[in-house]
Amino acid sequence: MSDKDLDLTTEVSSEADVTRLGRSGPKPDHERTADEDVDIVDWERVASTADFAALVQARARFLIPATIFFLVYYFALLILVGFFPDLMSTPVPGLGPVNLAYLFAISQFAMVGFVTWAYLRAAKNFDAIATKIRDDALSNRSEAKP
């Protein structure tokens, strides 16, 4: 029987699904451990480049404040609504019966939109640095091993 016959993935799930069952061939890429993976570049060297440090720093500089911001904004709603339901029931002037609690809850949707927009903007910069690191690492490799 060929390997194709033994792959019974289609019987339990689709071919595009993640874990192929009944496979007798080699492990798929995503299941490889660090020891089984092919070292396409010198990882330690890439990790010590200035570009890589800049990428990690740039990501941290955005992600840490952004994560803190959205968690604080979200838990502020839960704390205010949970502990001060009467205060949060105050109607918002000009919005009829709509109260602070509902307005704050709806503003969470806007907050999610805002953080997502800011992240997409910042990520352009991350992508540029990451592409440079990838290109440098791969071209260094071909010089080293012609």
Binding site: E11, T116, A130
Partner: protein, 523 residues
């Protein structure tokens, strides 16, 4: 209601045909997916949305808002905000490093066998909790369509049918099925929302005026009640209620990033940028849907009033019956049923393959199948066991809100899965002991606290365990999430694994830059 039943069956048949057709359409391209993984961002985004929006979102939240008003809306907000955690923290490192399950992330630089075993166990448990909610929803739906049938029979019948269909039909877990379902669910919600607003002359002012003064006669006491449904505190009362709400929020916002059937969705996209954009598309679909829960949730509260909602999980179909007659009722019920079936399919496949592959073959048999097809047989048995467990528990939890039940699955995922995954991504020192401790303590503490909580323990006879509840909160997250993190950190600090630390440089380079993840496309 036999007319509605036939219409319902027709709609379900049409839905299944659409999904079958769309799965067939993608078949020719499946070799292409597996090689290049060129699913587009919007397609993967809708598939994520399809996998995510379950019975809990549609039936559960509508019911909670219809009975408890504003507090139910907190689920809508939490389910959406949770996607920021997925977007900012897990999606890109996962796709970049080429890892698609929690087990893959942990096994990469830690010892593969123990962490795969624990991860498979955790996946099985989270999935079972998630499945209970789907079974309760399906059972209630069938009971509503066939009033002569008992709830127990409805759950067993529909549950067994769904599991048999998923296990032997198989194809349902494809990306296209989830996309079809997401579009159907969004369309159903838009229709329902428009019909609700038509009752208020399409005026938000009139709508909220009505929501702030809902009057009904309590069928038990015969007294007239007037309630402002925009007021917080109807479900989460007092200090304990406030802590419970924060506990729920913690589970939702941290649990989504630990849901096995969501994480594997990043497998189908070519690179981190597409993974990022697919989360954004998912957020658009999910955000639009949860905004609409305002209309069909509060709409059910004002138009039906709590007096006419005998089963809270059925308020959306009942609202459809009230607004659009039997035809619309049958349509909305079919959408709900398709939603449940698609989620059950995704869950069954992630649980059973994880067990068969990660636990049975990789851990017990060291990665070798002893006979052809053995893994598939084990996966089928695992699917039936998960299904049967969920059905039995669903019978015991019949009157429980399905959004709340899904919240418990999120709590287990947030306590057990998230801490090891985040630490593996960002902490060099993290090791196998830390991962196993974190998973073990997160699992046991969250499950134990659920068992001791008022949702399982009670003195009124309908509870699963008789006795005064020992743990006062319904949502365990506020205790079990910090315990999961503490155990993972403590386990790490008490042992040393130099091999894992040596491989951290490689892992962070891969996770941050995507170097080496594009092997599949570059040959």
């Amino acid at each position: 209601m036999t007319g509605a039943l036939w219409l319902f069956l027709t709609f379900v048949a049409v839905t299944l045909m659409i999904t079958w057709w769309s799965a067939r359409q993608s078949k020719g391209a499946s070799a292409y997916f597996a090689a290049g993984r060129r699913i587009k961002a919007w397609q993967n985004g809708l598939a994520i949305a399809g996998d995510y929006m379950s019975a809990a979102s549609f039936l559960g939240i509508a019911g909670l808002i219809a009975l408890k008003g504003y507090d139910g809306f907190m689920y809508s907000v939490g389910f959406l905000v949770a996607y920021l955690t997925v977007l900012l923290i897990v999606a890109e490192p996962l796709r970049n490093s080429g890892k698609f399950t929690m087990a893959d992330v942990l096994a990469y630089r830690l010892k593969a066998r123990p962490v795969r075993a624990m991860a498979a166990l955790s996946t099985l448990i989270v999935t079972t909790f998630y499945m209970i909610a789907q079974m309760v929803g399906a059972g209630s739906l069938v009971k509503l369509l066939l009033p002569g049938v008992s709830y127990e029979l409805a759950v067993i019948g529909v549950g067994v049918l769904m599991i048999v269909y998923v296990v032997f039909g198989g194809m349902l877990a494809t990306t296209w099925v989830q996309i079809t379902k997401a579009i159907l669910l969004l369309a159903g919600s838009v229709l329902l929302s428009v019909l609700v607003m038509a009752q208020f002359g399409y005026s938000l002012g009139n709508f909220f005026d009505a929501v702030s003064e809902v009057t009904w006669v309590d069928p038990k006491t015969g007294r007239e009640i007037t309630q402002n449904f925009l007021q917080p505190g109807l479900a989460f009362k007092g200090t304990i209620g406030a802590i419970d709400l924060i506990s729920l929020g913690l589970a939702l916002v941290l649990g989504t990033a630990g849901l096995p059937h969501i994480l594997i969705r990043f497998y189908t996209v070519p690179d981190a940028k597409t993974a990022r954009m697919s989360v954004v598309w998912a957020m658009l679909a999910i955000g639009a849907f949860y905004l609409m829960t305002t209309f069909f949730g509060f709409g059910a509260a004002t138009l039906l009033t709590p007096a006419n909602i005998p089963d809270q999980n059925m308020s959306a179909p009942l609202l459809a019956l009230h607004l659009g007659g039997e035809l619309f009722f049958a349509f909305i019920s079919a959408v709900a049923f398709a939603t449940i079936l698609a989620v059950v399919a995704g869950l069954t496949i992630s649980a059973s393959t994880s067990f068969a592959h990660d636990f049975y073959t990789n851990v017990i048999h060291h990665g070798r199948e002893r006979s052809p097809g053995e893994e598939v047989r084990v996966a089928r048995i695992a699917a039936f066991v998960v299904g049967a467990t969920a059905i039995l528990l669903a019978i015991g939890l019949r009157s429980t809100n399905v959004a709340f039940l899904v919240g418990l699955a999120f709590a287990v995922a947030a306590s057990a899965n998230l801490p090891p995954m985040v630490l593996a991504l960002f902490w060099k020192r993290f090791n196998t002991a830390g991962a196993c401790w974190g998973l073990g303590v997160g699992l046991t503490s969250s499950i134990l606290l659920i068992l001791l909580s008022p949702s399982i323990m009670g003195t009124d006879g309908s509870a699963l365990i008789a006795g005064e509840p020992i743990f006062p909160l319904r949502n365990p997250g506020i205790v079990s999430v910090p315990l999961g993190f503490a155990a993972a950190i403590l386990g790490t600090l008490l042992s040393r694994e130099h091999h894992a630390e040596d491989k951290f440089a490689e892992f962070t380079v891969r996770a941050n830059t995507g170097l080496g993840a594009e092997k599949a496309t570059h040959g």
